[in-house]
Symmetry: C2
Subunit: 458 residues, 2 copies
């Protein structure tokens, strides 16, 4: 009803200046990004993180002579809005106040320099001061929002699946273990027959590698739902598409017996979210793309559906083109990244690969109706990245699942016993989506604080 | 542009039936929640997780005689929309198909029973089938969304601060440590002079107890921002307001030198989010409140601001009322929960406590201008819960911070050295907010998979 209506702050953000006209009195706060000193005036570009644009501030002779404009300093500037010869808004300063100085000595960045991302990443705590990284942060925020909005609109409920878990969902063994730091605490909590390490929870505890099984439990009462959060892999893999801590979207669709329902949902989500971001974040996306122009998203232009290949068809394409592959395809091993990229190039589009050999996929996937050695699984491959999404129909036959289920997951089996339903679902690596959207080579540059083998800075 | 327009599914969810009228042909899918068999017809209540309401399905004599209606089973029902004598929509079934049976043996719930939450919590994986818990899940989803929407509208950017961290922000020592499960992996990664336990990241690694310091680093380039995610405490505390893994909202306001800016933001957020939820989730909130009627949110009715007491004033109130306190107030120890609840009762409202003794608060808080032994900190206390939010101005004076900063946090100090800015921020326990909103006694009942000492089920 009646909230206090005083604004949260009295200065304007640069992204808000669109609403201003010449002659308006405004105050802005931000950081000095560039400066050009002339005889009579100085031009100072200010950025404040709100958008990709800098605001040009003009200091007349008095101010220009009396203040020391230093790159990287935080400042408060008041004045009158004017217009440049190119009809861009500028701020004619009447007052220029330094909030925090920025000594050049020790500061890793300087005006009019651009830095490669390896160098920038050495200074994680200051990365948000660098334009392409700040642009990435804004797109990351918008992308999460667009995904969540899409799923809410389609009737999916967001569920927080746990980070700490007693079960190792994928059974791959690449998990982190967790225990309290304090030995004293553990000793005080220990019960008979429980090893000291496990005294806090009375069991071995891991960081989640996937929230899927927990999500399915909620889906069996609440219906369509998703989880979006951090996920962990203790894998000694330093590739540019792997992190030890990454964000994953996992979606579960209820009352679904056909993989085509899952394909439809994924197609619609990827298309809708990508269109929205290209539309609303075009400036920031351009900053991230940098030099590499050209339309990276040609498939958006038409309304065609993404091609769908069976695993067998994909293998045959790769076999027919073996002369163009560095490493030949071995169907028993599945697809390597180079094979995935060949297939997206071959299709000139993202592509679904469906109906996989059961041996290549986890226990919870459902056999196809026509061939019990195959499972109703999909990989969604995109250009430049390879696998972006993996999904499947879930095994909902109690007796068949009982044969396959790992020890300790009886609760999961019981979901099929008491009013069970057919479901399907998928998982998408959020950082890989951002790499794809922003054309960023290294996954460490699309997350604020990357963690990878031998590196957990800050 | 042109997404495929086939609907994601051909059945309707019960929450969508509002758009239906008598005579419409529909199919629904859900679980049998209740059944009343008459001579000629049966009435079956179906729930599907989409809303608090069940749909009454009417089985005519033929169906009623031929199908076995079992509590908890999943079913698909097609028929024609009709209207009950009380003008509620009902579904006159033409087809009733069981998807998954639900044997009574082994299923922990039965029709027409209500269960206490301790019992329900023993069956975590089936909790979403219980009406008050499903209602809580829907409100939890809506509450997260309302908070994020509010902050986006106010211009705050969502940032993912890391879960794995090399720093122990609060310095309280109540942290979980993390290492890979595989000794083989560690041996293969070990470098000279690094202990085996630390070989994965080359340092001790903890689960985050707060994303604040990392959030501040991003705020120093991107401006106003927030983080919302899981947070961990290795504390042997089984109280009904503590969890080992809980969700925390942390917000950082830039260019802020006055605690009143922070108070304004909190007041507006709590008011706006609570009003929105009481408005849009009233059915679900009623299910959670159960018997306990009465207006728990009287303060929403007026536009008065929340009262603000200094810590000193709060202590004096408690001292004047010592005969009504079980445990007297000791100002050196700060406020106990019973003191917090006395103060919210005393004020008949949520209340801010500001200007705390520095000794009671962490190193990163800024001294008040008028008294260097106090810090510009706030606790926001709410009835029935006590502390919901804690916040402060951040120490932005480089020299003063240098005196106080723990070893290993030099990067945080450097934020003040290179274009530093004054900021303020706060953290809110999301589950405590849900407890407050839904009047739920035990915090373990407002999170899907609660973790507390000696318990990490599933």
């Amino acid at each position: 009803t009646k909230c206090p209506i005083r604004p949260l702050h009295t200065y304007l953000r640069i992204s808000d200046l669109k609403g201003c006209k010449e002659g308006d009195n405004v105050t802005i706060k931000g950081w000095v990004n560039n400066t050009r000193k002339m005889k009579k005036t100085s031009f100072v570009d200010i950025v404040d993180g709100s958008c990709a644009s800098a605001l040009q501030v003009v200091l007349g002779k008095n101010l220009s002579d009396s203040v020391d404009v230093v790159f990287g300093s935080s400042v408060e500037v008041s004045g009158v809005i004017g217009s440049t010869p190119k009809k861009q808004l500028e701020l004619r300063a009447e007052d220029y106040r330094v909030i925090g100085n920025c000594p050049a000595e020790g500061f890793p960045f300087a005006a009019r320099h651009s830095y490669n991302s390896d160098y920038v990443r050495e200074h994680l705590h200051l990365r948000s001061r660098i334009a392409p990284f700040a642009a990435m942060l804004r797109v990351r925020n918008a992308a999460q929002r667009a995904i969540v909005d899409f799923l809410h609109t389609e009737g999916f409920l967001q569920i927080h699946t746990p980070i700490l878990t007693a079960s190792d969902c994928e059974g791959a063994g690449e998990v982190f273990r967790v225990r309290p730091d304090s030995q004293e605490l553990l000793k005080g909590m220990q019960k008979e027959e429980i090893p000291l390490e496990e005294a806090f929870f009375d069991c071995r505890t891991y960081l989640s590698v996937s929230g899927q099984l927990h999500l399915e439990a909620m889906a069996h009462g609440i219906g369509n739902c998703f989880t979006f959060g951090p996920t962990f892999r203790a894998e000694n893999n330093k590739s540019p598409i792997h992190l030890s801590e990454f964000y994953m979207l996992e979606v579960e669709q209820v009352f679904t017996s056909s993989l085509s329902d899952c394909i439809l949902l994924i197609s619609r989500m990827v298309r809708s979210v990508t269109e929205k971001l290209l539309d609303t974040c075009s400036d920031d996306i351009s900053v991230c793309h940098g030099e590499s122009k050209g339309n990276l998203f040609e498939w958006l232009g038409d309304s065609k559906e993404f091609p769908i290949l069976t695993f067998q068809e994909a293998v045959e394409i790769l076999q027919r083109n073996s002369d163009r592959l560095k490493v030949p395809i071995d169907p028993k091993e599945g697809l390597m990244k180079s094979h995935e990229l060949f297939l997206t190039d071959f299709c000139c589009s993202p592509v679904f690969i469906v109906d996989w050999p059961a041996a290549l996929k986890p226990f919870y996937m459902r056999p196809t109706d026509h061939n019990p050695t195959l499972v109703s699984a999909l990989d969604f491959l995109v250009p430049r990245i390879g696998e972006l999404i993996g999904g499947s129909l879930r095994e909902n036959d109690y007796e068949r699942l009982k044969e396959k289920i790992p020890a300790g997951s009886e609760w999961y089996l019981n979901l099929r016993r008491f009013g069970g339903i057919p479901t399907a679902g998928f998982g998408m690596g959020f950082e890989r989506y951002l790499q794809y959207l922003l054309n960023v080579h290294n996954i460490r540059d699309v997350i604020p604080f990357p963690r990878w083998p031998h590196s957990c800075s800050l």
